[in-house]
């Protein structure tokens, strides 16, 4: 079986985000595999370890994305494809079309991706890709079990759990709680250096003419929140003051 994992390199979630003149500053920023995509990579490797599968990680991004792909290879993926572009594309329709082109060629039985990326946060790209390729998807999965070509998954639906049965081919997006991603081992890191990583460009895929469906017109940091008031007095007084302020000043109770 072939498994394709769609992944993206993102800012570490502990990083501050500073917008300068409409551009997000990247100086000194620590980049990681998007945490949700990391669950997807881990799940693919576990499926491979329980049976027989080839795991291909695919990403669309700038040159630095190689680090994230190499980490996935070090975790246990077999090979990687990077569609390289220094231009920071944000339009999900475009990104999805680019990835779909590669995934279509790979023709996997199973596609795994993150539920959303912690930077753009839209959660569109993978689901659009499933529709483009005409395959079913289940979003926000917290458990995956394969039995032949039948796939049992659990999906997080606003706190409730849906138990779903479907068939390959299918695209699943990984939700938190799916697994606990491993750290790459030292031999894994050494091996990853030699694993194949194919670089492609948007032109090579024949996608120069694809137009974007949305454009970013403005980017900014939200106004800094002023620290409020630390209530004084003993606990009983503080509680009383808080309730009073929530009712009379903030009017939220």
């Amino acid at each position: 079986m072939k498994i394709v994992v769609l992944m993206k390199q993102t800012f570490d979630t502990e990083e501050k985000v500073i917008v300068d003149n409409g551009t997000i500053k990247e100086d000194g920023v620590q980049f990681v595999i998007n945490p949700y995509d990391e669950y997807a990579v881990e799940e693919a490797i576990r499926i491979k370890e329980n049976g027989d599968a080839e795991v291909v990680v695919v990403s669309f991004g700038p040159d630095r994305t190689e680090d994230a792909l190499r980490k996935a290879l070090a975790m246990g993926a077999d090979r990687a494809v990077l569609i390289e572009s220094e231009q920071p594309y944000t339009d999900e329709s475009f990104v999805s079309a680019v990835l779909a082109k590669v995934v279509e060629k790979e023709a996997p039985e199973l596609i795994l991706a993150g539920n959303f990326s912690v930077d753009n946060g839209a959660g569109q790209v993978a689901i659009r890709l499933a529709e483009t390729l005409g395959i079913n998807h289940v979003g926000a999965v917290t458990k995956v079990t394969l039995e032949g070509d039948t796939v049992f998954v659990e999906r997080d639906a606003e706190g409730d759990v849906e138990r779903i049965r479907t068939k390959l081919p299918v695209l699943l997006t990984a939700q938190q709680g799916l697994n606990d991603p491993r750290y790459p081992s030292l031999p894994g890191i050494m091996k990853a250096k030699k694993k194949p990583l194919e670089r492609l460009s948007v032109s090579e895929l024949g996608l120069d003419d694809i137009s974007v469906r949305t454009t970013v017109t403005h980017r900014y940091n939200p106004p800094k929140k002023e620290a409020g008031e630390i209530l004084q007095g003993d606990i009983a007084t503080q509680v009383e003051t808080l309730v009073k302020k929530l009712r009379e000043e903030a009017k939220v109770i």
């Binding site: 912690v118 946060g121 079913n136 849906e162 938190q176 137009s211 017109t217 929140k225 606990i235």
Partner: protein
């Protein structure tokens, strides 16, 4: 714009969700055209019809079918495509909910349309409509413009103000019949885990706990407080990683982003990844033993103290108000 707007309406336990009314208000900011709400699955009761009319819907389109009573992408796509063919909308709005965010990208791909996800505000500039959305879980914001038609968006619950209630309006009703075919996902079981009826992302009040809750005992108090206030319970990554509660409750850059009217953070230090998920809440209360905790930097009101001493009298005080 003058074209029609189509909104995927959602109900929970038979009741219309507030986010559907917010989606109507959002559509009205984009177009002056007719606003059509689609409801699928069950028939529609008088209360739902009344709410839709009061808050700006012009037309109610119903598609009833057994296969639409539970969500699967395949079945809902068939209903949506039928509704789109029937109404030819220029604007399509969803709530950014478990269903909305899961189906909107599929429909957008099918229609070759631009979709702006998780919209919190809609602004007009130089005759164009710009959609404001958080990026990096609210550490920054961006504005987007959609090229071509239809314009599609999902709106984040609790952010777009409802239209003013107007009485004496009514909706034109229409029912379409559908054959649903080839549904590739089968829902075998739904395990209800959400403890209260209030969904975390839609809740007006969120009571959230961190490592300082020390586990089950602390969260018991949080649930009690949430119950009294009619709110939902959330948690920090620390509390989830420690196994105190399910990951479904996690608030932060990983996890959910919430923007309630009132956010009460209990025993949460306020790591940057957590702050991203809640700092846009309207009013923030922090209760923490450590006066240096970064959560106090974003809190409107802070109590420095042990939650086990603060929460019981606080719960009692709120109970008194509710019964008054």
């Amino acid at each position: 714009m003058q074209g029609r707007a189509l909104i995927l309406g959602e109900r929970k336990e038979g009741k219309l969700r507030q986010v559907t009314l917010e989606a109507i208000a959002a559509a009205k900011k984009v177009t002056d055209g007719e606003v059509i709400v689609l409801l699928v699955g069950d028939g529609v009761d008088a209360q739902t019809r009344d709410m839709l009319a009061k808050y700006g819907a012009d037309r109610l389109l119903t598609i009833e079918h057994e296969a639409l009573k539970q969500y699967t992408p395949d079945a809902l796509m068939q209903a949506l495509r039928m509704a789109v063919d029937h109404t030819q909308p220029e604007v399509i709005v969803f709530g950014h909910t478990a269903i909305g965010k899961d189906i909107a990208p599929r429909l957008a791909a099918r229609l070759g349309a631009g979709l702006v996800s998780d919209v919190t505000e809609i602004v007009q500039k130089d005759g164009d409509v710009h959609f404001v959305r958080p990026i990096y879980a609210g550490k920054a914001f961006e504005e987007r413009k959609v090229e071509g038609l239809p314009v599609m968006l999902t709106v984040r619950p609790n952010n777009i103000a409802l239209l003013e209630e107007s009485t004496g309006r009514s909706v034109v009703e229409e029912t379409l019949s559908i054959e649903i075919q080839d549904v590739r996902s089968v829902i075998e079981e739904v395990v209800k885990k959400a403890t209260s009826g209030v969904d975390l992302s839609e809740a007006k009040i969120v009571v959230s706990g961190g490592r300082g809750t020390k586990g089950e005992e602390g969260f018991k108090l949080l649930y009690e407080l949430a119950d009294v206030l009619g709110g939902a319970v959330g948690a920090s990554r620390g509390a989830c990683d420690a196994g105190y509660v399910d990951y479904a409750l996690q608030i932060g850059q990983t996890g959910k982003v919430v923007t309630p009217d009132l956010y009460i953070a209990v025993g949460i230090s306020g790591a940057i990844q957590h702050l991203a998920g809640m700092s846009a809440s309207k009013v923030i209360v922090a209760i923490n033993k450590d006066p240096e905790a970064p959560i106090f930097q974003v809190a409107d009101y802070g109590i420095v103290g042990d939650m086990f001493e603060v929460l019981p009298p606080l719960i009692e005080a709120f109970k008194k108000i509710q019964s008054a």
